[in-house]
């Protein structure tokens, strides 16, 4: 694998942030519960069962929905002028500047290391029911995959089609989407690691774990 791990690590160390725009997921009246510059927390607990900081309440059809932060970081660009008003779906409400943690850095770097199978079209994607069953078992072995295997269903314009896997055989090491997600064209669906490269991938992970301070 032709990657320069030092360069990658240097890149992330110089700017270890990602901006997450927070948009209204649907229509409703918005009531903010944070202010600009405030530090917020993402979900926590062993199973991430504790919600993050309450960002705002979106009330639709008299149902108040409490919207929590999915990221740890700092609130920026809060649109205080929208307080108490009806917002449309997709309206940007605020931004969270999030500092990447060690696992996220591993995740980003693995996208460069693994053989990534990308979405050929902007569409909704599903694993086949058999694949879901296998992945749910969470075995240590990972799901083996070979060229031509049809493990992904692309649902485009209400039509389902099976996508044959193209790439080197290996095991599915990382999945980048949830069942039924709308995935943009060329976004990663899953990353495959050929068996002989497995020690290298594990070495990458080990090195980041050692060198990156959260």
């Amino acid at each position: 694998m032709d990657i320069n791990l030092n360069d990658l690590l240097r890149k992330y160390k110089s700017h270890p942030y990602e901006d997450h725009k927070i948009d209204a997921p649907h229509t409703g009246l918005v009531f903010f519960k944070v202010r600009d510059g405030q530090e917020v927390a993402g979900p926590s607990g062993q199973w991430l069962q504790k919600p993050g900081t309450l960002l705002y309440i979106l009330e639709r059809e008299n149902n108040p929905k409490r919207m929590y932060s999915a990221f740890t970081g700092r609130v920026a660009g809060l649109r205080a002028g929208l307080e108490g008003s009806f917002v449309q779906a997709g309206e940007q409400l605020l931004t969270i500047q999030h500092r990447l943690n060690r696992d996220e850095i591993i995740d980003r770097i693995l996208r460069d290391v693994l053989q990534v199978f990308r979405a050929p079209q902007r569409a909704r994607y599903f694993f086949t029911p058999e694949t879901v069953t296998f992945l749910e078992k969470k075995t240590d072995k990972g799901l083996p995959i070979a060229p031509g295997d049809e493990i992904i269903i692309m649902s485009l314009m209400k039509r389902d089609s099976f996508l044959p896997y193209e790439g080197a055989p290996g095991i599915i090491y990382k999945v980048y989407f949830q069942q039924g997600d709308l995935v943009e064209q060329d976004s990663p669906l899953f990353g495959v690691c050929p068996p002989e490269k497995l020690p290298f991938v594990q070495k990458v992970i080990q090195r980041i774990r050692t060198e990156w301070d959260d």
Partner: protein, 470 residues
């Protein structure tokens, strides 16, 4: 109805047709759209005619909370669901009627949608009235063993009836509009297809119930257009023929009337068959106190036997093909069924009877779609850079695609580009006009790999010779 506001809970060309109907009735309206549809003409037209406050961006056309939330904010008195989405969802219609701030649902009352929205229930009611229906299951099947037993029975029956190549259809019970249907020609492939449809139904509709019925071959797909009021008035606007469909059973060319014995020969008395279908449809509508527009879908086999398929309790894409040939005496222009639908939903009387309705000429509807006919009608997505159709007094064109700027086809929805409804004083003239229209149409564009756009214009041209012919 003065000063009433309608929320149009749909997209694309049907939203545009509903806007036009509202305008003609002097009603105000608002529309919804998703971010993928920002460039749709239905949004631009609403903003141009009613201002930016008339278009609301929502997360999803299929989220009822979004629709009701916008309806309240926009101060809408009624919701027009168009076709698809909530148009045949009785829970949505019931919620509209029973909420604290009731809103008129422009469609039949919810109990009717519930009773006729289910193909199975419709079949049961029809059987009681001795209306012919297709042999098969009359309840959704969830057990593979039961389904396989019925499949075997249907194959056996067809062999006994002397059918050379028997086959059955496996359908998603909650589906509609031709989606989620597959044919089984050999019993040993049944299980695999059954499972595929079951999975599809679960993914798309959240209900894995499956229907099985005998697959009829060599038939025509016909429809009867009814309009009923809340005052027990029932009229029909004749029949239409929707036989020309894609391999996925999506209609592509429709014509009205349903058969034209002056144009071509039929192996049965066509007028008698059409009259039978109309009579049965009115009988069923009367039985359930139907109270809005509705379509009774039929198939007619070569021996002239009609079978009721289902009732579509909504306005259909192809409504205007029937409306275009229908006249109400003293009215200067052809009928606008969407206007009529809105009027009756507000409780108005029809103000005319069947004897006042006459039919003139033939109408043909062409559904222009970005799809690769040679690859099983695979949908095409990409950017349209030129979208031109000739303007003629005998054609009406409806489209959400702008003609003055590039347009990216949203991948979330079907790649339907336009509907053209063509009228002629007889079938020959309508067919020739349709041919002329298609020959002058020009659609250009390319996909993300730079490949040119693929549409079904050539296919539509090829199929014009088949219109109304058995």
């Amino acid at each position: 109805m003065d000063k009433k506001r309608i929320l149009i809970a749909n997209r694309g060309e049907i939203a545009i047709r509903i806007m036009n109907a509202c305008k003609e009735l002097g009603l105000d309206y608002a529309v919804v759209y998703t971010v993928q549809d920002s460039k749709s003409m239905h949004v631009r037209k609403a903003v141009e005619e009613k201002g930016s406050g008339a278009a609301y961006r929502i997360s999803n056309y299929k989220d009822p909370n979004e629709i009701f939330s916008v309806a309240d904010h926009a101060g809408a008195h009624a919701i027009h669901p168009g076709y698809g989405f909530f148009s045949e969802n009785f829970r949505f219609a019931r919620r509209a009627a029973l909420r604290n701030r009731p809103i008129i649902f422009i469609g039949p009352r919810w109990e009717v949608i519930r009773d006729l929205g289910s193909k199975i229930n419709t079949k049961r009611i029809a059987k009681k009235l001795r209306i012919p229906v297709i042999p098969g299951s009359d309840e959704p099947l969830y057990s593979e063993i039961e389904a396989e037993a019925l499949a075997e029975k249907l194959f056996y029956k067809q062999k006994k009836d002397g059918i050379e190549k028997p086959s059955i259809l496996v359908k998603a019970s909650a589906g509609g509009g031709g989606m989620g249907i597959e044919e089984v020609t050999h019993l040993d492939t049944f299980r695999q297809i059954y499972r595929r449809i079951q999975n599809y139904a679960k993914r798309q509709f959240g209900d894995e119930g499956v229907l099985i019925e005998q697959c009829m071959r060599d038939y025509h797909h016909l429809e009867v257009q009814l309009l009923c009021s809340q005052h027990k008035e029932i009229v029909h606007f004749g029949t239409r023929n929707c036989t020309i469909q894609s391999t996925g059973r999506q209609k592509r060319v429709e014509a009205a009337p349903g058969f034209d014995p002056d144009y071509t020969d039929y192996p049965f008395d066509a007028r008698k068959v059409l009259n039978r279908m109309v009579k049965y449809s009115v009988q069923l509508a009367s039985k359930v106190n139907y109270d809005n527009v509705g379509t009774w879908e039929w198939i007619v086999t070569r021996d002239g036997q009609p079978y009721l398929l289902e009732v579509n309790t909504r306005i259909q894409v192809e409504n205007e093909v029937s409306a275009r040939i229908s006249r109400i005496s003293k009215h200067k222009t052809p009928v606008n069924l969407i206007k009529e639908q809105i009027r009756v939903a507000f409780g108005e009387r029809l103000k005319y009877r069947q004897k006042h309705i006459s039919f003139r000429g033939t109408s043909i509807e062409l559904r222009i779609v970005a799809e690769d006919v040679k690859r099983g009608f695979a949908p095409w997505c990409g950017k349209i850079t030129r979208f031109y159709f000739p303007e003629k007094p005998w054609v009406r064109l409806y489209s959400q695609v702008p003609q003055d700027e590039p347009y990216e086809i949203p991948t979330e929805y079907d790649p339907n580009l336009a509907l053209a409804i063509i009228w002629g004083r007889n079938t020959e003239q309508a067919r020739e006009r349709a041919r002329d229209f298609l020959a002058r149409a020009d659609i250009q564009g390319e996909d993300s790999r730079g490949e040119p756009i693929v549409t079904n214009l050539e296919y539509l041209m090829d199929r014009l010779d088949d219109v109304l012919k058995f």
